[in-house]
Each structure stands twice: as C-alpha cells, then as structure tokens.
C-alpha cells in the first residue's frame, strides 16, 4: 500500500502482467501517446485523461495481447477508440459525423508571442480534418509505417498514403500562408525547399 492509502498500479497488475513491464511500457509510450491524444482532444486535461484511460485498459487487458511487438499499435488504436467513444457520447454524433470533428482552438502554449514552435505546429495539425490528422500524428509521433497505420485504423493502404500526403500538404500550405510574428520562421526545416511536381 502506498502513502495516504494510494495504491501503486504495480501492486495490482501482478496477476495480469509483470509490474516492471507495465512501468517500462508506460515509460516508453506515455509521452507520444499524450502527444497523439493532444492532437485529438479539446484540452490538455482531456489528452492526459485519454492517455491515462488507455493505460488503465492496458493494465486490465494487455495480458491478452500475445504478440508483444504489437504493444505500440495496441496502445494507439485503443486511445483512438476511446477518443471516438468519448466524442460520440459527449456530442451524440451519428455514423460518419465523427470524421468532421475538430478540436477547438489549440490550448497548448497559449502564451501569445511566446508561443513555442511545437505548440504552434501542433495547433496547425489540430486544424486538419481528423481523417488526415490521425494518420499524420501516428506517423510523426511514433514512426508508424503506412502498413501499421492501415491496420490500426482499419483503412486501405492506399488511403493511408493519400491521407499522409494530403495531410502533409495541408500543413505545409498553412505554414506558407501564415505570417509568423516571432523571430522569423516558426518552423525552419533543414534545407527547406519549395515543393516541386504535383506533390
């Protein structure tokens, strides 16, 4: 039993999964899961709750996953499912309407001129349609391959390619259109060049 009657997770998950493994998995994935959640949820608090909820489900059901190489996909898929369930419950959306859901204006780094590059960029990503936002964030946060994204989101591989490409282009367009007020460029990419061809 922990202090103040607070019971560490590790005392309870021994029957389903080694506590060391649980901590290791939390340590490895909680940051990127939170970032992924942040691109979906309306607030930082919701993103943190989504992340916590995902690990709660993992603690309960993770032992059922026989192939431990699929932990990453399992966690991201579960977080996405929990997000979809949440917005369905909270706004009573109908089939098909989930795709049109967008978070409100970004709440990350709301400190005016001092807003950091990453918060600004995340704000741009949050403006994308969910169909583009989700695969793009899986790609950028955890190096998901297009095959892994297709499997996790249950969409065809070609659709993943298209969404990655369009999502990336939309972010680029937003970056090109928006004037940046703090010290020149917000996102200075190495050897950034204008796009060529019909990308």
């Amino acid at each position: 039993m922990g202090v103040d009657g607070f019971v560490p997770a590790t005392e309870f998950i021994d029957t389903t999964m080694a506590s060391a493994e649980f901590e290791q998995i939390v340590d490895r994935y909680y940051g990127n899961l939170y970032r992924f959640a942040l691109s979906l949820a309306k607030t930082e608090e919701q993103a943190a709750d989504l992340t916590q909820q995902t690990f709660f489900i993992w603690a309960k059901k993770g032992h059922q996953l026989k192939d431990r190489t699929k932990v990453k996909s399992w966690l991201f898929t579960t977080l996405h499912r929990e997000f979809l369930k949440y917005i369905r419950r909270s706004s009573r959306m109908e089939i098909g309407e989930v795709a049109e859901y967008r978070p409100e204006a970004p709440t990350v780094g709301h400190d005016g001129e001092e807003k950091s590059d990453h918060a600004y960029l995340l704000g741009l990503i949050r403006e994308l349609d969910e169909a583009y936002r989700v695969p793009l964030m899986m790609f950028y946060t955890e190096d998901f391959s297009y095959k892994e994204i297709a499997k996790a989101l249950d969409i065809p591989i070609g659709t993943v390619m298209t969404r990655l490409s369009r999502g990336r282009n939309q972010v680029r367009e937003k970056l090109e259109k928006r004037p940046v007020t703090r010290g020149g460029k917000v996102v200075e990419f190495r050897e950034q060049k204008r796009r060529t061809g019909n990308e």
Partner: protein, 270 residues
C-alpha cells in the same frame, strides 16, 4: 514503376528508418536515386518530416502524468472502479449506476421463483439485443464498421441468408424495398448469430437486428402488431418475433419517436 507511383509510395517513407523490409518502397527509393527531380522531391519531403517529428516530439507531457498513470491505474483497479475513474464525467458514472440498479431489478424479476417457467427464448433475445446495442453503439462511434456497404436489397437478403443457418426466411420476412439501405453487419452473441441491417427512412437512421429463437416457442416476445418498446441509453428499441425469428429495430432517441418506430415496424413486416 513510374515516377508518380514512386511519389505515391514515398509519401509514406519514414526518414531515417529505411523501411528495408518493404520491397515496393525500396524500388521507389531506387528510382529516386536515379531520378534527380524525384530525389530532390524526396529530400525536401524528408527534411520537412524530420522537422515536423522533432517539433511534435518537443511537446512535453504535463508534469506528473507518468506518476498519475501509475498511481491512478492502481487506484482504479484496486478500489471501486467508479471511485477511481476520473476519466470522463461523473454523469457517465451515475448513468452506469442507474443501469446497474435497473439491471438488478429486471434480473430479479426474471429470476423470481414464480417466473421459472421456460423463458429461454427471452434470455436468448435479451442477450442478442444487448449484443446488438453494443455493436450499434460502436458503429455510431466509428469503432467498428459495417461488414458490407450496399444499397441493394438482394445483397442484404443474401447476406442475411448466409449468416443465419436455421434456414429461416430471415431475409424475406422484412420489406426492405421502401428504405434506403446503408449496409449490414454480422455479429456473434453468446446465444447465436445476429445480423444488423442499417438503413434510413425519411432521413432517420434505423438498425434492424435479427436473431434466431432456438427453441422456437414461448409467448413472451410479442408479435409485430404490438412490439415491445425499450430504451437502451441513447437507443430506442422495438422487439418482436416472427415465428422462429426475433427482431429488434433500433433508432437513436431524438432521431425518431416511439410512434415513428412503431410505424417503421408495421412497414417492415410483411
């Protein structure tokens, strides 16, 4: 492989990863090494992606989230789950508690000694209905998808005939001609196969679940002339039977009224 196909594939190429196990990507990379324009395009994209990755990964989780996960998960698993769950809102917890109380009440009624006559068809139908409720909820949430998307009546009938093995006229027992079909899904409940057909009528979304009543008798499930109306969270349901087949028509509350559902049942039954 032409240049356009290579670009299409390389849009998913992960910078610094290699994707060695993907022959198609390797072929596209080989083409990029030979083609200057494609090579520049890829370098540009990789630089952009590296920049994005660096900055996205710069976002720090809130201080204490790691400890919150370890402690919070432990508390939720170790104590009463409702008390430990701070994830969504308290209203959800209260709603779950209400469902539990109602469930216990209904359960007590069903299991009361004076009602121990043969009710296996009712138990079966309740299980199938609950299973359908869960799947329809997931369909709405986008968590699960239809097995077949179609607006063709014959395709839906064929799907239902294939899913139900009892040789019952499950596909023919409903008149699907007046509705705008969306598709169907097959699920396995503890007591048998359930098919769900999703459709619209006058702009309103309905789901028709069909299951087989295995023992084929028992008067508890009413006929189509007086379907049993029930509420399941956001869903409104009407259950009736046709011979050895049970049906539940679901809609979302607010989408359609009980009167709409009753009309729909009358329209569906032939």
């Amino acid at each position: 492989m032409n240049k356009e196909r290579a670009k299409f594939l390389l849009s998913a190429y992960r910078p610094d990863h290699g994707d060695q196990d993907d022959p198609e990507l390797q072929e596209a990379l080989a083409l990029a090494r030979e083609d200057e324009e494609l090579r520049e395009w890829l370098e540009d994209q990789m630089n952009f992606d590296r920049g994005m990755m660096e900055r996205v990964r710069d976002v720090s989780p809130p201080a204490g989230l790691y400890q919150d996960i370890l402690h919070g998960v432990g508390m939720s698993l170790g104590e009463a789950e409702g008390a430990g769950v701070r994830f969504w809102d308290r209203a959800v917890v209260r709603a779950l508690a209400a469902v539990l109380v109602i469930g216990l009440f209904v359960g007590a009624m069903l299991w009361a000694p004076w009602r121990l006559e043969d009710r296996s068809d009712v138990y079966a139908s309740l299980n199938c209905r609950d299973c359908a409720v869960e799947v329809i909820d997931d369909l709405h949430a986008g968590v699960t998808r239809l097995d077949m998307r179609t607006a063709e009546v014959e395709e839906v009938r064929g799907f239902m005939r294939a899913a139900h093995t009892a040789g019952l006229p499950v596909g023919e027992g409903v008149d699907l001609a007046p509705v705008k079909l969306m598709g169907c899904k097959e699920i396995e409940s503890r007591t048998g196969t359930v098919t769900i057909v999703c459709f619209r009528r006058e702009g309103k979304l309905y789901h028709l679940a069909t299951f087989e009543i295995r023992d084929g008798h028992g008067p508890e499930i009413p006929g189509a002339d007086a379907p049993e109306m029930t509420h399941h969270g956001e869903l409104l349901a009407a259950m009736w039977r046709e011979g050895g087949v049970g049906r539940v028509l679901f809609t979302t509350q607010g989408e359609a009224s009980e009167e709409d559902v009753e009309r729909m049942v009358a329209e569906l039954t032939v």
